[in-house]
Amino acid sequence: MRRVRACRAEEVPPGERVIRDVDGLSVGVFNVAGTFYALHNRCPHRGGPLCEGPVTGTALPTDDFAYAYGREGELVRCAWHGWEFDIRTGRSIVQEHTRAKTFPVEVEDGAVYVVVGG
């Protein structure tokens, strides 16, 4: 396991994301409501640049056939085919077993570190 400095925390305000080369891997660093997460910038669906797609919310699941928008800033929608993934878990919200690779993140002295090789 290696801890690699990815960016300064102030480069990624809440709701934003940056994409950095981390030890040869393209990794997206996201700030979801003040907490940082890192995803491999490779969609498990067809290998597209997952982290380059829009950070969004979505239509919440419903039992009464009503539309409600929610989870703003919690999802990234792959730049290629638009599959929605939970930034915090890397899981597709349609089929949970489809999962983007996630990396542990540590913040120290204003810097965001991504832990790779685990």
Binding site: T58, D63, H81, G82, W83, V94
Partner: protein
């Protein structure tokens, strides 16, 4: 064998006169009819079969309409193939869906249903009927489903695949709600292409009958997609939808496409909890006839395996129509045969083993 599509017919639509109230009886007695005095009111499809639609050997001795003579139907189908149950789908009644006058259409299908119950079901314990409804008036159709839903001889609600909108549209929900309430499956049979109903092909009307007949499966695709997308099977989780005579080999490809597009755009239909293909596997059934006929039957079987054909297909002969499938000639994997020839329909329609009936 259980035959899921048997066309009982009338020699003359005037058999419906006693079943119509005086107001609508007047329409049938004195009104304009598309094929002369004995014909059923409907807006005829613009594609006319150049050979007349019926098996040439199914004309009764008195020259009447094929399917109108019980004894010939019994000899040519029920006895010949040892049919355990025949699901009657009528013939012209579903074409009432093409009429602009929805109250007239509803009156005609009510009369046709009562005629089937009075004149056909008592003839033979192997016969079961369909509650034909005119979907252009969903409230009247729902009332008809509730009126006859507990009749022990009526085993499904029947509409034409030709329609004004795809069947998942909330416009039709009152009908499906009634079907769920009485516990009957809904069947959509090929037909109703004309009149007020939508063009069956999205690129405009085809020219020839055979060309059109091969393409009519397109309406089935639209209904399957719509029913799933609108969450009909989330609203009524016990509902089953049977596509009759609408082909089968297209379904896997459609479901692959629906699954792929849903994964990207589920936010349009947040009421769905599963993939489209999962709803289809549980809720959609298909009658086999006319089963696609590839040069190498293994190609068809491989495709049908993708929709678990062993458990989703139900045999139908379409007697006495021109594209009849003979149950002894139809080619299926041996290990699927029992389920497709009888057991899937038995479960779908809740039909007891005949031995237990006797």
């Amino acid at each position: 064998m259980i035959d899921c599509d048997v066309h009982n017919s009338w020699r003359s639509a005037r058999v419906l006169l006693p079943y119509l109230d005086p107001y609508f009886r007047d329409f049938l007695e004195r009104g304009e009819l598309p094929g002369g005095r004995d014909s059923f009111p409907h807006a005829h499809r613009p594609w006319l079969h150049p050979e007349g639609f019926m098996r040439a050997d199914a004309v009764p001795a008195d020259g009447g309409t094929p399917g109108s003579d019980y004894e010939l139907l019994r000899d040519q189908l029920l006895d010949r193939y040892d049919v355990e149950y025949a699901i009657l789908t009528g013939d012209e009644a579903i074409e009432a869906s093409t009429l602009a006058n929805a109250p007239l259409a509803s009156a005609l299908v009510r009369a046709a249903n009562d005629w089937t119950i009075d004149e056909w079901l008592p003839l033979d314990p192997r016969l079961r009927g369909s509650i034909v409804v005119a979907p252009q008036d969903p409230a009247a159709a729902a009332a008809e489903v509730r009126r006859l839903g507990d009749h022990p001889g009526m085993v499904q609600v029947l509409v034409s695949t030709g329609s004004q909108r795809p069947y998942g549209d909330p416009f039709y929900h009152p009908i499906w709600e009634a079907a769920a309430e009485v516990g009957l499956p809904i069947a959509a049979h090929l037909g109703g292409q004309g009149g007020v109903n939508a063009n069956p092909t999205g690129c405009g009307p085809p020219t020839f009958f055979w060309e059109t007949h091969a393409l009519l499966v397109e309406t089935g695709m639209g209904h399957v997609a719509s029913l799933i997308a609108h969450g009909v099977f989330e609203r009524w989780p016990t509902l089953r939808f049977v596509l009759v005579e609408a082909g089968v080999a297209w379904l896997p490809a459609l479901l692959w496409r629906l699954d792929a597009d849903y994964k990207a755009l589920r936010k349009e239909t947040p009421w769905l909890k599963r993939l489209p293909s999962e709803y289809a596997a549980e809720h959609i059934r298909l009658s086999t006839q006319p089963l696609e006929q590839p040069h190498d039957e293994r190609h068809l079987w491989a495709v049908l395996e993708a929709i678990d054909g062993e458990h989703t297909l139900c045999f139908a002969s379409d007697y006495p129509h021109w594209d009849f499938d003979d149950p002894r000639q139809i080619r299926l994997p041996d290990e699927w045969r029992e389920r497709i020839m009888s057991e899937n329909a038995r479960e779908l329609y809740g039909l007891p083993q005949r031995a237990a009936v006797a």
